[in-house]
Subunit: 138 residues, 4 copies
């Protein structure tokens, strides 16, 4: 198992109770990028009977955390921007793909696009992490 995969799968996801509650599946892990997927359940909906905004956000925030920590430096979210584009329904399968826009000593920026099972873009997330300087012990 590659180091970045060990960090994401063993050190992060296996201890990440909320990502597990969401039912997040890790499709792929590369340096600076991950692909995640999850299915929206009834208990994740809001008063409009669509997925609560927190669900797409949480999927993306996990993708941000996983992507930015693949480099072996512990990184924490400082700022995020999220656009909500299309309603997500119960039973929808959401696929999140991250892209590393920028990485330097102190900061990293990532764009995460989320599509449903029909390939429709449902939400976009742009996030900035602060790199603490502390290394993961793999």
């Amino acid at each position: 198992m590659k180091i970045e995969e060990k960090i994401v799968r063993k050190l992060m996801y296996d201890n990440d109770a909320f990502s597990q509650w969401l039912g997040i599946e890790i499709i792929s892990v590369e340096k600076g990028a991950v692909e995640l997927s999850m299915t929206v359940r009834e208990e994740m909906t809001n008063g409009f009977d669509i997925a609560h905004g927190g669900i797409a956000f949480s999927l993306a925030d996990s993708a941000l955390a996983f992507s930015s920590n693949t480099h072996g430096i512990q990184s924490v979210t400082v700022e995020t921007t999220t656009s909500f584009i299309k309603a997500i329904n119960t039973g929808d399968r959401i696929h999140a793909r991250s892209k590393e826009i920028q990485l330097s000593g102190k900061f990293g920026r990532y764009l995460i696009e989320m599509h449903n099972q029909n390939g429709v873009l449902v939400a976009v997330f742009y996030g900035t992490v602060f790199r603490t300087g502390k290394s993961w012990i793999v």
Copy 2:
């Protein structure tokens, strides 16, 4: 019960499975502003053993939805910005208070500050809603 309270408590919260899963308590509802509170549980934590970013976001997104719908016009989140300031731990009680920054025909903007039980600011959320023009039938 005031109309804004009926919208938030009966039409929104009572049908909002995820806000209920989070354990959100509605402290107060005014036109354009709400106060919410919730306690972080073990199952809401991430691989750093602190609350997943999606938890504070979800609390704030509920506050945004509730605040912006108090005016009787169905309003949906389009853009959000969230700053993560201090780690939130299991057992922490998070209190969210919203403030209506701007309201016009099509859009509304809200600032939501979140403090923990010690009065420490842990996260800030700034959100924009689109007002659909469709009225709530109260």
Copy 3:
């Protein structure tokens, strides 16, 4: 001249006094995307003797306006997020390239990356426009 180019060059840029003051050069115009370039002058710097944040923002905001209006529908900026990554100095040539992330009836989202003459990413801009429904008369 293609319609999108006529909108951007004749109807927008030729009447855009501030983009002209900035010295913005239009490199290319496609549906949903433009490339712009400009050189930072001494009068655009701040108290740290680097380009004022408003300069990179303004270049990107012009790119957003131009990109989103290429479809023939008048579109106005509603929300923007900008990351400042590297200092920009007097004499630097900044190149902005936009990408259409999403376009639907009411909204469009665009990512704009800005590089300096050495190919270094200096700023990233993510913007949302509201499509007014009013057409450009070309």
Copy 4:
């Protein structure tokens, strides 16, 4: 002259060519907060014959820089979010008032609201600075 005023007026504004070009007037300076004002000129407009988005942004970004540097630690903008609410016309006098939302060792967050001469909210800016640790020599 108080230290925060000396930093803003003498060390920052007096060397800030672009804020001067904008015609920014410093109304007041307190620790963590400033009030600025400026009048929109013809050369600041865009192809819609209203103030270019970069103008309100630049005013706010100066307010962010001034506010965050009042504490004596050199602070630089990392992330900003700006909402454009009402069109700003030539001749309008724009007044920006900043509020310090949060300040800690590494980061500060500020909300800046901009009103026109009729008291109408025209734009809102939310910005995050990184505190470099380098002190101003006053």
